[in-house]
Subunit: 195 residues, 2 copies
DNA sequence: CTATGTGAATTTATTCACAGCA
DNA sequence: TGCTGTGAATAAATTCACATAG
């Protein structure tokens, strides 16, 4: 589903058309047309036969499905290379996300602004509770990952995006999505013919 | 499959055991035990009943399946925040990857060393052909993504890991894996109970 | 007694084909 | 005529149960 939102947004910026057909969207994101129709029809019908899907309606529906109607605030922990890249990343807006806070342990970074966000002391993660931030992004060295996780959970965070290449354990109620950027690279040689 | 390699490697570093059972590995990576046995048995049997899988053998086999036996060289294009993070990323070794070259258009970066790799001029991407580097990593602003892609393809690159949030078109023979770090974040609210 | 490997059963996803609406 | 939405057919992946090996 997220990929459809991505495709629809892309199309809305590039094309002048008001609608997009399942075929066009399919070509854009790299799946089959019937796949898209099936997926959408599962959530109710919002396409127009003979025309396609109205882009604005489509984006609205998919956002609703993904529960992205309201802007979601997330807290970033770890403002190293990766963290900085995430802060500067322009793509979060598409998915109604905003990195509303950033934390680090490094005294030299605390208090400074990065991409419009002031870096705060990682020791003060508990304030996330007051600020009602419920999503956390972990971009710290792997040794620190579990410790930060525990703090995030304690601060009431309900969802964690984990960029450190280590397994983090959390209570059942908290959802973790692990992203190992190297793991994706590992899929490549399988498709590449060989030497 | 990549996740099994990840799990096995993790286990080998943390535990002192020589073998791992499907149950333990399953718990580590978050799938079912029979799932793992099925997946492995598809590629032939290399486990020992009553004991489990010998870790060294397991890692070797999975690497073979993923065609990761030899170290794979990859070229990074775009040494911004994200590119720097990738260069500094410690996890590539697990998957037998090595970022053997880095390119950028910024004159101030060219010639300087970053994480042990000298940044070269992106105009000279064609030298990848001579160096026999067949994998490319795109970490440039989205406007530049397609142009760099074309250059990579022209230089004989067979697989591309695309971190830019734009669709890139390539000849059929070239495999692209798209990674939109924001897209993964979009999956989170769906699992998080709501407000 | 423990843990693998695999046929069989079940569930889920993919693909097709086509009726129906603009 | 073009494109959606969906039931039916097909394929694939999950799950189970258990024979078998250490």
């Amino acid at each position: 589903m997220p990929v459809y939102l991505w495709g629809a947004t892309l199309f809305s910026r590039q094309g002048a058309a008001r609608s997009i057909s399942s075929h066009n969207l399919a070509a854009l994101v790299g799946v089959n047309a019937w796949q898209i129709r099936k997926d959408f029809s599962y959530f109710g019908d919002f396409g127009t036969p003979g025309v396609g899907y109205n882009i604005a309606t489509l984006i609205k529906h998919v956002k609703k499905i993904l529960k992205l109607e309201a802007v979601q605030k997330a807290a970033l922990v770890g403002v190293g290379n990766l963290g900085s890249a995430l802060l500067a990343f322009p793509g979060f807006g598409v998915y109604s996300f905003q990195i509303a806070a950033a934390f680090d342990v490094d005294r030299r970074k605390i208090g400074k602004k990065k991409s419009g966000v002031v870096v705060e002391d990682a020791a003060k993660l508990h304030i996330l509770k007051e600020r009602k931030i419920r999503l956390g992004i972990i971009a710290v060295p792997e040794e620190a990952a579990q410790g930060i996780t525990d703090k995030l959970v304690h601060a009431g965070v309900k969802g964690i995006l984990n960029f450190s290449s280590r397994y983090i354990s959390v209570p059942k109620k908290v959802k973790v999505i692990n992203i190992d950027i190297a793991m994706d690279l590992a899929r490549l040689p399988y498709y590449v013919p060989s030497d």
